[in-house]
């Protein structure tokens, strides 16, 4: 199963499993049901930090919006999961963004029965279990930013807030398309700043990165 999932044609399965992993992890930190902004922010951070765990990025290109990322394909995946009953939706509304666009506003929570089935299916596969743990740690780390910080993650994150890229341009964090991932680069730099004898784990790099974004909240 792991070999088949590696092909781009089945990337949509990876994205949906990642969504379920995000919603599951959000339960543990008290952010469930999770607002749509939180879900997109976590998905973005999971992609930007994936190279820190030597994992592939699922959505390497994102259109830069004023303050936070939003992935139309991820939203479609979320809607599909709702339709399948794997995810529950509540408090649905439409809000107007600066610029006049309407976007959906809703809260999402994973269906516990669907979650059990998904976890039972994927956890025997080491690579999938590793990806699940990675997403969990990204959520655990970024939860410390709180809903407000996640709402403004685009202004905090290294890659997304890079002033060289204007709103309306594409942020490319995927190495295979020549993208530069400033987020992963900053996370990796923690390793070079501690004593050479101290090898920081991937989880520590993710958590330190989230702590550093928190320190930027005061500045930004």
């Amino acid at each position: 199963m792991s070999t088949r999932l590696a092909t781009s044609g089945l990337r949509w399965i990876e994205r949906r499993v990642r969504l379920v992993a995000i919603l599951d992890a959000l339960r543990y930190v008290g952010l469930s049901p999770a607002n749509v902004i939180t879900v997109h922010a976590m998905a973005y951070l999971a992609d930007a930090l994936a190279p820190v765990w030597d994992l592939p990025i699922l959505d390497g290109q994102v259109l830069k919006r004023p303050q936070r990322p939003f992935f139309p394909m991820l939203q479609a995946d979320l809607d599909r999961l709702v339709g399948q009953g794997a995810v529950r939706v509540s408090n649905v509304a439409y809000v107007e963004e600066p610029g006049g666009q309407l976007r959906i506003d809703a809260d999402y929570a994973v269906n516990p029965e669907a979650l059990s089935r998904i976890v039972e299916t994927i956890m025997p596969f080491d690579e999938q279990a590793r990806k699940w743990t990675f997403v969990r740690e990204v959520v655990f780390a970024a939860a410390g930013l709180g809903p407000e910080g996640l709402n403004y993650v685009g202004l905090l994150d290294a890659a997304y807030s890079n002033p060289v890229i204007d709103t309306g341009e594409v942020i490319d964090i995927a190495p295979e398309t020549g993208g530069e991932n400033a987020t992963a680069e900053v996370a990796h730099r923690f390793s070079r700043l501690v004593p050479q004898t101290m090898t920081l784990s991937s989880a520590e790099l993710v958590h330190l990165y989230a702590r550093h974004l928190y320190s930027r909240m005061q500045v930004v």
């Binding site: 543990y28 008290g30 740690e137 939860a143 410390g144 400033a182 730099r189 090898t199």
Partner: protein, 360 residues
């Protein structure tokens, strides 16, 4: 030219983050309960470092808050609650394993009995793992109730204080772990088993890993803002435990305070054939252990090092097991310590009685 963006992601600021948050994320493989306990300890210590004085208890419960809980309405959600600045005292907190975000309710108006009643009866949280933080005691104290406040008789107490990490402090923690968990069978096996066949004095094959896991958990609570690192690979080999943390004298850097080489002394190997371990092998292991403790200390630039032996043999020889290395260890400044792990409770009790009679 520097901009606010490049400056905020500059090396100086990243190093500040790395030092201020040493150890965050290094517990990803540990059970959620252990991460919760360490997270509360980190929060409490940060409050002490900030010089916050308070008479009010804080209670932390490992149960992430529901956004709409009819029993606990109108909670205050706080982010990065372990930064030391968030007022924690006098409140009931619902948190997840990372203890970096939580919802809280005031309890400063309640005495200790009232706090228990509120958590158990009003909030219905009596069965969830909980930590009571009492800042008014000297030193401040954490009381961990792994089965919840409704089973208050099951409680572990840990002091939270601002103190230097040194080998004496680390070995003191190991003493406590030995007494409470390792000395005799009966400890929960959530971190692994020690004996594969206690009647035959057979440890499990990787007993060192079980001991290491217990020590890592135990050391993480009194030193929550340090990183207790296990199985670090370096040129001399693989060292067992290293305690790394902020340099309390020289500011913005991390240093290695203590390295520990752990050895399990066995009478028999694990496995169906249970082959005996010869006295000569024990002598060699201990001698190699001294060399390893010294080499790791030099390689890591650590301040102190020790060889810690956990003796699971049929007969306990005490510190006599170090007779052949005592001079070498003294010369290399490697501390030597040994603890006996008994295969059954009866033997442990007999040892305790014998020790008490010997002292008298």
């Amino acid at each position: 030219m520097s901009s606010p963006y490049t400056e905020s992601f500059g090396s100086n600021n990243l190093l500040k983050t790395a030092v201020a948050h040493c150890g965050v994320g290094d517990d990803v493989t540990q059970p959620f309960r252990d991460r919760f306990l360490r997270g509360v300890a980190r929060l409490a210590k940060k409050r002490l470092v900030k010089g916050i004085e308070s008479d009010s208890l804080a209670v932390f419960v490992l149960r992430p808050p529901d956004r709409e809980d009819p029993d606990l309405p109108n909670g205050r959600l706080d982010r990065m609650i372990d930064n030391g600045r968030t007022p924690a005292e006098g409140r009931l907190w619902l948190v997840g394993p990372p203890v970096n975000v939580g919802k809280s309710w005031p309890i400063h108006h309640l005495d200790e009995n009232g706090v228990f009643d509120f958590v158990i009866d009003t909030a219905g949280l009596g069965s969830e793992p909980a930590v009571l933080y009492d800042p008014k005691l000297q030193p401040a104290e954490l009381r961990y109730y792994p089965n919840g406040l409704s089973q208050a008789e099951t409680c572990e107490v840990a002091a939270i204080e601002i103190r230097q990490v040194d080998l004496n402090a680390v070995l003191g923690v190991i003493d406590q772990v030995h007494k409470k968990i390792l000395a005799a069978p009966g400890a929960p096996e959530s971190l692994g088993k020690l004996w594969s066949d206690p009647d035959k004095f057979q440890p499990v094959e990787r007993a060192e890993l079980t001991v290491q896991a217990h020590l890592k958990t135990a050391l993480s609570v009194p030193f929550p803002d340090f990183s207790v690192r296990t199985e670090q690979i370096d040129i001399p080999g693989r060292l067992d435990i290293e305690v790394v943390g902020p340099d309390m004298l020289h500011g913005q850097r991390l240093i290695s305070y203590v390295v520990l080489e752990l050895k399990i002394l066995r009478s028999y190997r694990s496995g169906a054939r249970a082959t005996a371990v010869s006295p000569g092998e024990i002598v060699t292991w201990i001698s190699e252990g001294v060399d390893q403790a010294y080499s790791y200390r030099v390689a890591r630039g650590s301040l102190e090092s020790a060889l810690c032996c956990f003796d699971m043999r049929k007969t306990f020889s005490g510190r006599a097991c170090f007779d052949h290395v005592a001079d070498k260890a003294a010369h290399l400044d490697v501390r030597l310590e040994v603890w006996h792990l008994f295969a059954n409770l009866k033997a442990y009790r007999e040892h305790q009685v014998a020790e008490a009679l010997r002292r008298d």
